[in-house]
Symmetry: C2
Subunit: 148 residues, 2 copies
Amino acid sequence: MPQTPQIAKEALDEALARQGLRSTRQREHVFSVLLHRRDHPTADEVYARAKEEMPSISLATVYNCLETLVTCGLVRAVNYEREPTRYCPNLHEHAHFQDKGSGRVYDIDLPPDVMAHLKRILPNGFEADNVEIYFHGSLQRRQDAEAG
Amino acid sequence: MPQTPQIAKEALDEALARQGLRSTRQREHVFSVLLHRRDHPTADEVYARAKEEMPSISLATVYNCLETLVTCGLVRAVNYEREPTRYCPNLHEHAHFQDKGSGRVYDIDLPPDVMAHLKRILPNGFEADNVEIYFHGSLQRRQDAEAG
DNA sequence: ACTTTAGTAAGAATTATTCTAAATTCAACC
DNA sequence: GGTTGAATTTAGAATAATTCTTACTAAAGT
């Protein structure tokens, strides 16, 4: 039973309030679904998981809630090629890696200098707000390194 | 009247042959459209431009040809968020920058070390085939620096 | 309690893209 | 030069993710 931890609920309420938005059961629940398994689910997957505890929630509401969470800055929308958008509650600056075997997406921490270093390659006049870095490849699984 | 330069036509024929594919009028024309204005057009835009010289070409064929060119390695498909796919005949390793004002996409050359440097941040077991780097921001236009 | 506003639900609509089936083209062989 | 068979093109239908619309519900302000 994923229960939104108090600390996350407070962050949610505060972030929503900052945008003049209300905290609702659906928003809280969708957020808790994302926090519970940080595996970059698609909207459909979030919908399926959300319904387990809240069978009356609709797909449209899941889309609305995800969009709201993105607007509030609590969640990041992640795209690769034209696959369905995935959602990620990890707010550190980080890159993504998609394993072409399983399609699963993993967070890759960025050493602090990388982002700055990257922005420095831009010619004069190009001002970047953000940089998306998306690796695509295969994940060599080793017995001793089991990752989620 | 964009005419495929001989050198490009030969590269096309050779690349197609390597995959056991035929060189056709449509494939050649779609390729020439991409080479003519290197502004990362969408499939729809390529369709519109291709029709000017070849009014009978269909949108499906444009999609097929673009896909074929990507398969042959002559063209890169570029995605940002869930916007329509854009096509780019620049095969150097490079990043993309989208100006949020105009939506236009620019190629950004990568210093040779950057790619290698980036791949080195991957944890053990992650083997990247490729990295997409997509900047999003605004382009400060200066009188003396007019770019296409 | 009454009114306004925000949020949710269900399904229709949209959009980029892919699929399907029929028609056409092309390269190789006779 | 015509024939054959596979590859390609075409037009339109189909698909899939997402957004929109409209009515309903819930909450907040008065």
